[in-house]
C-alpha cells in the first residue's frame, strides 16, 4: 500500500487579490517501506504538499489516498487513515505545551483514546527510541531542556502515536552537526527497525544523499523529477531547474574528473565517493 496523490491542485485564498496556486496538478506515489525525500527551494510547494498527506489541507481539486482510502471524506475509515500518517513539523519543539515531558509525549496517544498502561508503554518506548532517558526526564518540564532535546521530545510525541507513515518537514533545521547526524541515524533506524514509511522534506542535498531511497524535486507547485537517488543526483538539468545544488560528493567527483583525474563519477554517498577516489588514485599511481 502507499500514499497516492492524483492530480492534486491547491490554491491559497481563492477568489481574492491574493490568490496563489501552490500545487498545480501533482501526481505522486509514496511507496510503502521507502524513505522518500522531497526537495525544492522555498516556495516550491513542498510544505503545502506534505500537509495534504494527513488531511491538514484538502486539495482544491484532485484526490489524496492513503492505503487506497480517500482522506478528504469524514468517515471513520478516512479519519483512521489520516491518523496513520504522523507529521513532524518544522521546529516541532514549538508545539510543546505540557508541564512534563511524560505528559507531552502522552498527549497524542491520549487523543487516540488508548488505555493508560498502553499509553505509558508507548511513551517509554518513544522516549527510549529518541534516546531521552525516561526515568530521568519524565517529570521534568520540557522547557528546561536544550533545543535538541526538546526537538527529540516533540518527535517522540509523534512516534508514540505509532504512525505507519511518518512525514518530517526539515527535521534537522537549526541543529548542530552532531545533533543532525544523530537525528538522521534515528530516522534511518525508524525505517529499518520499525518498518516505517518515511517522507522527509529537506533542501539539504547531502542529508538526502545519505538516506533517501527515492528523491522528488519540486518546483513551482510541480513535481520536476521523481526517481531513485542514483538517477536523481545526476540529473543536472532537473537539479538546476529546481534551484538546488547537487550533493557535495557529486560535485567533488565531477570537479576531480574535470581537472584530469580519471575517476568514476557515479557515486553520491560519502563512502562510495571515497572508494571511487581511492580507486582512481591507485590507477594513477600504477600508470605513473
Amino acid at each position: 500500500m502507499s500514499i497516492e496523490l492524483k492530480n492534486v491542485t491547491y490554491t491559497y485564498m481563492p477568489k481574492t487579490a491574493f490568490e496563489r496556486t501552490a500545487l498545480a496538478g501533482v501526481n505522486l506515489t509514496l511507496a510503502e517501506g521507502k524513505l522518500t525525500a522531497i526537495a525544492g527551494h522555498t516556495g516550491s510547494g513542498k510544505s503545502t504538499l506534505v500537509q495534504h498527506l494527513n488531511g491538514l489541507l484538502h486539495p482544491t481539486s484532485g484526490v489524496v489516498t492513503v492505503d487506497g482510502i480517500d482522506i478528504s471524506k469524514k468517515t471513520k475509515e478516512a479519519i483512521d487513515a489520516r491518523h496513520s500518517v504522523g507529521m513532524v513539523f518544522q521546529y516541532p519543539e514549538h508545539q510543546l505545551f505540557e508541564e512534563t515531558v511524560e505528559k507531552d509525549v502522552a498527549f497524542g496517544p491520549k487523543n487516540m483514546g488508548l488505555a493508560d498502561d498502553e499509553i505509558k508503554k508507548r511513551v517509554k518506548d518513544a522516549l527510549d527510541f529518541v534516546k531521552i532517558d525516561y526515568e530521568t526526564y519524565k517529570g521534568r518540564s520540557p522547557f528546561q531542556m536544550s533545543g535538541g532535546q526538546m526537538r527529540r521530545v516533540a518527535i517522540a510525541g509523534v512516534l508514540a502515536m505509532k504512525p505507519k507513515y511518518l512525514v518530517l518537514d526539515e527535521p534537522t533545521a537549526g541543529l548542530d552537526p552532531r545533533g543532525r547526524d544523530d537525528l538522521m541515524a534515528r530516522i534511518v533506524s525508524l525505517k529499518r527497525e520499525k518498518k516505517m514509511t518515511i517522507i522527509i522534506v529537506s533542501h539539504n542535498m547531502d542529508d538526502i544523499a545519505r538516506i533517501a531511497d527515492e528523491v522528488v524535486f519540486m518546483h513551482d507547485g510541480n513535481v520536476l523529477l521523481d526517481a531513485p537517488p542514483k538517477e536523481a543526483f545526476f540529473s543536472d538539468d532537473a537539479i538546476a531547474a529546481a534551484g538546488l545544488l547537487p550533493p557535495h560528493t557529486v560535485s567533488l567527483l565531477k570537479m576531480m574528473k574535470d581537472s584530469g583525474l580519471d575517476v568514476d563519477t557515479d557515486a553520491f554517498t560519502v563512502d562510495e565517493a571515497v572508494r571511487r577516489i581511492a580507486k582512481a588514485m591507485k590507477r594513477r599511481e600504477k600508470s605513473c
Partner: protein, 267 residues
C-alpha cells in the same frame, strides 16, 4: 485556514486619496465627522452622501468592497433604527403589539442610521487608502504637540507599529501550532464548549512562549541597533504636504462653506 485572513483593509493604489498626506486625511476626516453632526437637514445629508460617493469613486476602491465595511455594524444599525421607530412620539403609522410605530420615529431612525453609515464609510475610506504604517506615522505626528503634557507620542506609535507588524506573524504561528496539534489528534471542531475551550490550551501555551521569545529577540535587536526612543529620531518616509493635499483641503473648505451658506440661507 487562518492564513487566509487579511489584516487591515488597506487597498494599495495611486488615486488622489492614496497620494494625500496621511496627516491631512486624518484632520479632514475629523472635520467631516463634526460636519455630519452639525449639518442635519435632509439637504445637508444629500450633499454629504454625494461627497462620500464622490470620494469613494475618487479612491478607486471598488464600491462593493467599501460597502462591505458596514457589514459588522448591521446589528447596531438595525437596532438603532428599531428603537427610534418604536419610542419616538408622534404621528402613528401602525401599532404592533405594545409598540407604536411613528412617522417621526421612522425619520429620526433613518437619519441616525444614515449618519452612522456615512461615519463608517468616511473612516473606512481613510483606512482603505492609507497604509497602516503611514497611519501610525500620521498619528505620531499629530500627537507630537501633546508631548508637552507628557504623552509619549513616539512610543505609542512605535507600539502600534510593532503590534501591526506582528499580527500576521502571530496568525501564521497560530496556524502552524494548530496544525501540529491537529496532527497529534486534537479536534477543534466538535465536542462541548468546555471541551473546545480546553483544546485551546495546547495552542495558547506554545503561542505565548513564542510571542515572549519574539518580543525578547526584537527588543534585543532594537537595542543592538541603538534604538533609544523618539528624541531626535528622523523618519525614512517623511510625511510631506503636497499640492494634492492643498487641493483636498481647499475642496473640503469650499464644501463646508457651501453647507454653511445653505444653512444661513435656510434651505
Amino acid at each position: 485556514m487562518l492564513t487566509d485572513i487579511t489584516i487591515g483593509q488597506f487597498f494599495p493604489g495611486t488615486s488622489l486619496l492614496h497620494r494625500m498626506d496621511a496627516r491631512v486625511k486624518v484632520i479632514l476626516l475629523f472635520f467631516l465627522i463634526i460636519a455630519i453632526f452639525v449639518f442635519d437637514t435632509p439637504g445637508d445629508y444629500a450633499l454629504m452622501c454625494a461627497l462620500t460617493l464622490g470620494l469613494g469613486l475618487a479612491s478607486h476602491v471598488p464600491l462593493g468592497t467599501l460597502m462591505k465595511s458596514i457589514k459588522p455594524l448591521w446589528w447596531i444599525l438595525g437596532f438603532t433604527f428599531l428603537i427610534h421607530l418604536c419610542t419616538v412620539p408622534g404621528e402613528t403609522i401602525t401599532t404592533v403589539w405594545i409598540f407604536t410605530l411613528t412617522k417621526e420615529g421612522f425619520m429620526r431612525g433613518f437619519f441616525l442610521c444614515l449618519r452612522l453609515v456615512l461615519l463608517i464609510l468616511l473612516s473606512s475610506l481613510l483606512t482603505f487608502t492609507t497604509s497602516p504604517l503611514a497611519l501610525t506615522d500620521a498619528l505620531e505626528a499629530l500627537m507630537r504637540p501633546l508631548r508637552v503634557i507628557g504623552v509619549p507620542a513616539h512610543e505609542l506609535a512605535m507600539m502600534m507599529t510593532i503590534a501591526l507588524r506582528f499580527i500576521p506573524t502571530l496568525i501564521e504561528e497560530t496556524d502552524k501550532i494548530m496544525k501540529a496539534q491537529q496532527s497529534r489528534g486534537v479536534d477543534f471542531e466538535t465536542g462541548s464548549i468546555l471541551k473546545r475551550i480546553s483544546s485551546m490550551v495546547p495552542i495558547l501555551v506554545p503561542l505565548f512562549i513564542s510571542a515572549f521569545r519574539r518580543a525578547d529577540e526584537l527588543a534585543m535587536a532594537m537595542e543592538a541597533r541603538c534604538y533609544r526612543g523618539g528624541d531626535g529620531r528622523t523618519q525614512m518616509k517623511v510625511l510631506r504636504v503636497t499640492r494634492v493635499d492643498y487641493a483636498g483641503i481647499l475642496f473640503i473648505a469650499v464644501f463646508f462653506a457651501l453647507q454653511a451658506a445653505l444653512k444661513i440661507v435656510g434651505i
